[in-house]
């Protein structure tokens, strides 16, 4: 047992910090720290800057062009990049389908698709949820029927994050309608430019466009783009969800937003002094700092104990991470106070003149608060996670 950072770990943190300070473009940093909307190019530029450094795939083994970092290094990297104001890494390729292909994909798929994920030469999206299949994912109805060397896919996917930019979708489809729910599912890699694919935006509470509906009508997918074996897709899907859950503890996000919160509270004046010095507000900030410290230590325990391989304890991280991200957004809105009432979506687009009242950050506070309600819903709701804990950890 060694509860302090080793000199190597400290040096690594310093190296990441220095890199982010030097290489993160100022316009991207400003957008992130002001809670303005990011565009496709912002993500792609940052991924390429990382790739130039050899850090394009922080969670991948060296043989696939990754860094080979252990779980602790990955966590340090995440936190330092977020604190610096970097965009989140797109998870769809690096954290989701990438690891699935490494484990279950064909040699041809690995060679063709993995290298293109690192510089976002292919933008991936996740075709899981359907209008009738949210938490109960295994009830999905999108059908794939074999026709010669192709599957013909029909159905509808939803909540497809950033599908408007996507080149490829990894998609769960039903290939055996007669098998029990989980048994007849396969995973296909679907070219988003195929005829029959239609992407429609879903506006969310914050006025943003991150998620989409994707309609699939007689879309032809070559059999070569089947992942692993037919009807084994549920196994691959579960493997992927495990990876997703640790990522969405959102520790880096929490650290960054805490910094923004304190900065806002230091600048907001209330009764003749900064709100940060008000004991009522100070206590609430202290408590959320404790929450983040506990989340971080829990993440470190999980990361260090089994090198980050997520088990059911990932559900604990998901629940807490979601709640803390929501609490931070709520506190930011409270600090913004009256200035969080007016809201013009144009304020969130970089380059547009800011013309709202009150401090600049207040403009985004209401939208941020509304948007963060998603964290306890996506990636398996808090209630689903509690069910997982009860079943798999407590054995009831």
């Amino acid at each position: 047992m060694n509860l302090t950072w080793t000199p190597e770990e400290r040096q690594f943190r310093e190296a990441v910090r220095a890199f982010a300070a030097e290489k993160l473009p100022e316009d991207i940093r400003a957008k992130v720290l002001r809670h303005q909307r990011l565009e496709r190019d912002d993500y792609v530029r940052w991924h390429n800057i990382l790739a130039d450094q050899g850090w394009g795939a922080p969670n991948w083994p060296v043989e696939h062009g990754g860094t080979g970092w252990n779980a602790l290094q990955r966590l340090i990297f995440e936190v330092e990049c977020f604190k610096a104001g970097a965009p989140r890494l797109l998870p769809f390729g690096l954290s989701m389908i990438g690891p699935v292909l490494m484990k279950y994909g064909s040699a041809e798929q690995k060679a063709r698709l993995l290298p293109r994920m690192i510089r976002v030469e292919d933008w991936w999206c996740q075709g899981y949820s359907e209008p009738g299949s949210g938490s109960d994912l295994a009830s999905l109805k999108t059908r794939a029927v074999r026709d010669g060397d192709d599957y013909v896919v029909n159905g509808q996917k939803t909540w497809t994050t950033l599908a408007q930019y996507a080149d490829w979708m990894f998609c769960l489809v039903r290939t055996d309608p007669d098998a029990r729910a989980q048994r007849g599912i396969s995973m296909l890699l679907l070219d988003m430019r195929s005829p029959g694919v239609t992407v429609r935006p879903i506006r969310t509470l914050d006025g943003g466009h991150d998620v989409n509906e994707v309609w699939l009508e007689d879309v032809r997918v070559p059999v070569a783009n089947l992942v692993g074996e037919e009807n084994q897709g549920w196994t691959y899907a579960k493997y992927l969800l495990g990876h997703e859950r640790t990522g969405i503890a959102g520790l880096g996000h929490c650290h960054r937003e805490l910094g923004i919160l304190k900065d806002m509270a230091a600048r907001a004046q209330s009764r003749g002094r900064p709100l940060l010095q008000d004991s009522r507000m100070r206590d609430r900030i202290s408590r959320i700092e404790v929450d983040i410290m506990a989340l971080e230590m829990l993440l470190l325990r999980v990361a260090a104990s089994n090198d980050g391989t997520p088990g059911p304890e990932a559900s604990v991280l998901k629940i807490r991470g979601s709640e803390i991200q929501q609490d931070l957004a709520m506190l930011q809105m409270e600090v913004a106070g009256p200035d969080a009432w007016p809201y013009d979506p144009d304020w969130l687009v970089a380059g547009n003149d800011f013309h709202g009242p009150g401090p600049e950050m207040a403009a985004a506070a209401g939208a941020g608060y509304a948007d963060m309600r998603k964290t306890s819903i996506y990636g398996g709701t808090t209630e689903v996670q509690k069910g997982i804990i009860a079943r798999l950890v407590l054995g009831v």
Binding site: M1, W5, L298, I319, K386
Partner: protein
């Protein structure tokens, strides 16, 4: 960073779990509580296992384990709701003596490590909540040594102690730490049971005469030694609380699997499963913060050390209260009776907040450090 127990820590934790399972059963704990005096056999068993000399240096008869070793040990003691004065004597007393120079170390550490001497730190004064600077308890230097007047209260296992480490205000207003033997003339001891089945004492000192050797430390050194004792005690308490939560969750899961209503085990009801999951989340966070607390003991930045300890204590109190309340709730009416050990865990976890600085106190510390 590395969270895996060392081989020694693993073996000690395993042995301790076996000992606690065998000698700290619910009826045994209740019997000792009813007796109200220290069970020497139980105390010696802890000493023999090395619990009391855990972090005391080998030069002074201890095992010289790193401060982080407090975690595996006190998690086990908390699981077994061990109420013997391990924290007041072997953790706080030892940490205080360790900060008081070689004479104090030589005099006290070997005796604490062997269990021969039980000490308790008398630092709180009536009406002053958690103030660590002595005020009304006064020490005056005399020709022979020291004269002590005033009162201390909430002295953890004060009546079982062979000596108290008393903080008092010296003539120049500085803190004086004095080792007061329990048989000193002029001391009145008022022993009181506590909500969680332990004991505490009020000590009234009336012209107590002490030799010059009673002095442990004075001035800044005394303040630092006392602060160190409180930090070590808080860290051990955080681990103890995490252990108690761990065991209480097990007890509650077991009860819900067994107890049937509406023709099925309570554990099959989703609303109750979710409460169990919330208990587990709280327990994991509290355990994580117990790691933070023991890590603080080797943190060189004093402000950061205080911040870590205060944060861990806040979390232990918050999570402890939640887990305790949910455990009683999930046991239903049975949870309200004095017939199950659930109530004992509930009360121990409840008073975690009361000991060594409550929530308001820790928040004030964090505000001060902000």
């Amino acid at each position: 960073m590395d969270f895996i127990y060392t081989e020694e820590q693993r073996m000690l934790a395993d042995s301790l779990r076996r000992l606690v399972d065998q000698a700290w059963t619910f009826p045994q704990r209740r019997a000792r509580q009813a007796a109200g005096t220290l069970d020497r056999q139980a105390w010696n068993a802890l000493a023999e296992l090395g619990v009391l000399g855990l972090t005391i240096s080998q030069d002074h008869g201890g095992f010289g384990e790193v401060p982080a070793s407090l975690l595996p040990v006190h998690v086990e003691l908390g699981r077994g709701l061990v109420s013997e004065p391990v924290i007041p004597s072997a953790v706080m007393g030892a940490a205080l003596a360790d900060g008081c120079g070689e004479a104090a170390r030589g005099r006290w550490l070997p005796a604490i490590a062997s269990g021969e001497a039980i000490v308790s730190v008398a630092w709180q004064e009536p009406g002053r909540r958690y103030a660590a600077d002595p005020q009304d308890c006064r020490a005056a230097q005399t020709a022979e040594g020291w004269r002590l007047d005033g009162a201390k209260h909430l002295v953890w296992h004060g009546a079982a102690a062979d000596a108290w480490f008393v903080s008092a205000r010296g003539g120049d207003g500085q803190t004086v730490l004095l080792a007061v033997p329990a048989d000193a003339a002029g001391v009145r001891v008022t022993d009181t049971p506590t909500l969680d089945g332990a004991r505490c004492a009020r000590l009234d000192f009336d012209a107590v005469t002490l030799s010059a050797e009673a002095l442990l430390a004075e001035g800044e050194a005394a303040d630092a030694a006392l602060a160190q004792a409180l930090q070590w005690g808080t860290a051990a308490l955080c681990a103890h609380a995490a252990g108690a939560m761990d065991r209480l969750l097990e007890i509650t899961v077991e009860y819900l699997k067994t107890r049937k209503q509406f023709g099925q085990p309570l554990a099959t009801f989703q609303a109750l499963q979710h409460r169990l999951a919330e208990m587990l989340v709280a327990k994991e966070l509290a355990l994580s913060m117990a790691y933070v607390a023991v890590a603080a003991l080797t943190e060189s930045d004093a402000a950061q050390r205080r911040r870590m300890i205060a944060s861990a204590k806040l979390e232990a109190a918050r999570a402890g209260r939640l887990v305790a309340q949910l455990a009683v709730q999930l046991h239903g009416g049975m949870g309200m009776t004095d017939e199950l050990e659930v109530g004992d865990y509930f009360k121990r976890l409840t008073v975690v907040d009361q000991l060594m600085g409550d929530t308001a106190e820790q928040l004030a510390v964090l505000e001060e450090l902000a």
